[in-house]
Amino acid sequence: MRHRSLLIITTAITAGALTLSACGSRDKSDNSDGDNKKTTVVIGVDAPLTGSLSALGQGIKNSVDLATKVANKNNEVPGVTFKIKDFDDKAVPSSGKTNATSMVDDDEIVAMVGPLNSGVSQSMQGVFAKADLAQVSPANTSPDLSQGPDWPSGKKTRPFKTYFRTATTDVIQGRFAAQYYYKDAKKRKVFVVDDKQTYGAGLSKIFAQEFKRLGGKVVGTDHLTVKETDFSGIADKVKSTGADSVYFGGQYPEGGLLSDQVKQAGADVPIMGGDGIYDPAFIKASGTSNDGDYATSVGYPVEKLPSAKTFVKDYAAQGYKDPYAAYGGYSYDAGWAIIQAVKAVVNDNGGKLPDDARAKITEALNKVSFDGVTGKVSFDEFGDTTNKQLTVYKVVKGAWTDATSRTFND
């Protein structure tokens, strides 16, 4: 396995070198403006900008960028110009940690949006907490991040006061999916597959618990490895267990292939997954046989919300190279939440950014409340979104179509 470790070392060194050079070249750029002119406030963005999840990452970056541009245009916070600075975590926790350290060291960054992956977030939270730098993730869904590792036993404690998110947790999403499968789709025998990552394993566990609680049967479980392409062994097991449905906790690259191979193995059953597979690439990645597959995602479909019309239009007008993808709306709202927090802090301080801006913004985020792209945006005592709307999407004729949208209740 020399190849892999050498590869990782090389990547790490390259990434490190790039980060360092970025630090060196930037420091002196904005200080010559003078004090009375506009203050520049930088919002850090961390997402996988390269690699197989880059489609989602680019959407996050662009949407936050759009939020800052809109704020600047509307003069949302007088005297403050917003800017973003993006960091690529490649969906790798160690890269995320490096990025978090760079952000903390960068005095201009007052808060950040990201990352995409729950696993990456775990490695960043501690770094931000020590520096009082608020983190608003548009996509993390692992409950541990905001409610502590003991949440299943009901002992919820918020581990990091700097952590917020605009995405709903897997507890809600997994249970919602199980309820839909059992009650609406009338499935009774499910085969559960996950990708061994924080997000996928967590989500499928919650799903399986709720499905069993409702009276359904989990006829088999298996795990696949990210970045592999051959899941025919698992597909055969799905067939031989006689499952009438598959639940997959993971991301679209593997999800699309799994769905395809299950159908090729001769098992004519749908696959359901979480927001990780809700992406056009899930369908495109794998031939044509995805009709009937399901995905749950947080919030109502962005295109259908009246509040999102402006977002969709503005995004198109900016001419970004990549679409806003699954988390665009949440990323915009995450960015906007930070902008609102900055606004509150600046107003309290007589129109200027205070010296301890980071801590003040973190505090202000707890009280933020506004109508965003995805609905009402505010955070509860754990930093989780108070928005519990979810949607089930179904593949119809090769495209994701929303099947049901409702508010989750126990």
Partner: protein, 310 residues
């Protein structure tokens, strides 16, 4: 045991794919003792080459008509990159310390991946690859073969046969064997060893391209990262079969593929081993097999001479 035939066929097709890629590792290693870690990316580029041809053909062209052209397109792309890599990345380092070309290979691998990511249109996500229409073919009630796999099951033995004949019968093939045995003496005998080395890279590239087309037909997609794991597994197959031996590469691939398929399916049925079965542990079992084979036969399944040229 009702599902055993299906499991074996799944393993066989996966293994044939590993084997085709492994040829490239083994040929290059046999001749220049270089582990060309960029070979996985050469495989990936073959896939994109074939896809480019398909997209360039008028839409609606039947896949069976397009396939030969796609294979040629893939081979051209792979061979071009493989020989260019040899000429510009490895040849200047020949004769230098062993580690230099190895690190170059790793660097090249990252560079090729990122180049496709950055410059091939829409390659940031998987690009879909044409697939044969229709359901899988039913051989018996408990044995289905997917249409994409048929190509692989025909192409892999044909390619092996052609390569075997080429190496043993043709002049160039014998020159290749001579260079592998002793490059200096081969040179004295009037063999242009530089050309032979280029040829080894080119053949490896061509096989990788055939594998990439098969991979595309099997999984319905190509993406810029697909060379990493495939390359790693193929390298394992080459070592398992005995690196330097072309038949060993194919045998190693098939053994590895079948071992993985069996591990997914049956380990968890062994009492007390439920936790160690399934997709999570298949690589562990495959590599356990590799270690056991290497303990018993350090030269690999079909490998010969190990220490005669250190």
């Amino acid at each position: 045991m009702h599902e055993l035939p299906q499991t074996l066929v799944n393993g066989l097709t996966l293994g044939a794919l590993y084997g085709l890629i492994a040829i490239g590792y083994t040929m290059v290693y046999g001749i220049v003792q270089l582990i060309n870690f960029a070979h996985g990316e050469i495989f990936m580029i073959g896939g994109f080459g074939a896809l480019t041809i398909y997209l360039w053909l008028p839409s609606g062209t039947a896949l069976s008509l397009a396939l030969p052209l796609m294979i040629i397109g893939g081979i051209v792309a792979s061979v071009a990159i493989a020989t260019a890599a040899e000429r510009f990345a490895y040849r200047p380092l020949r004769g230098g310390p062993r580690l230099a070309p190895l690190i170059t290979a790793i660097g090249l691998s990252i560079a090729l991946q990122q180049a496709v990511w950055a410059f091939y249109p829409d390659a940031k996500k998987s690009r879909s690859f044409p697939q044969f229409e229709g359901k899988s073919l039913e051989i018996f009630s408990n044995l289905h073969i997917q249409r994409g796999d048929v190509f692989l099951l025909i192409a892999a033995p044909l390619c092996m046969l052609a390569l075997g004949l080429f190496v043993s019968k043709s002049r160039a093939g014998r020159a290749m064997q001579a260079t592998a045995q002793d490059p200096d003496t081969a040179k004295l005998m009037g063999i242009n060893t530089d050309r032979i080395i280029v040829m080894a890279f080119a053949i490896g590239g061509a096989f990788a391209a055939v594998a990439a087309v098969a991979h595309g037909l099997k999984y319905g997609q190509v993406n810029f990262e697909m060379g990493f794991i495939a390359g790693l597994k193929a390298f394992t197959a080459a070592v398992l079969g005995g690196i330097g031996n072309i038949y060993g590469a194919m045998l190693g691939g098939v053994v590895l593929g079948i071992a993985e398929a069996l591990a997914i399916k049956y380990i968890q049925d062994i009492p007390g081993m439920e936790q160690l079965g399934g997709g999570t542990w298949k690589d562990v079992w495959a590599f356990t097999l590799l270690i056991v084979v290497l303990l018993v036969r350090p030269q690999g399944l079909l490998g010969e001479r190990v220490a005669d040229r250190a």
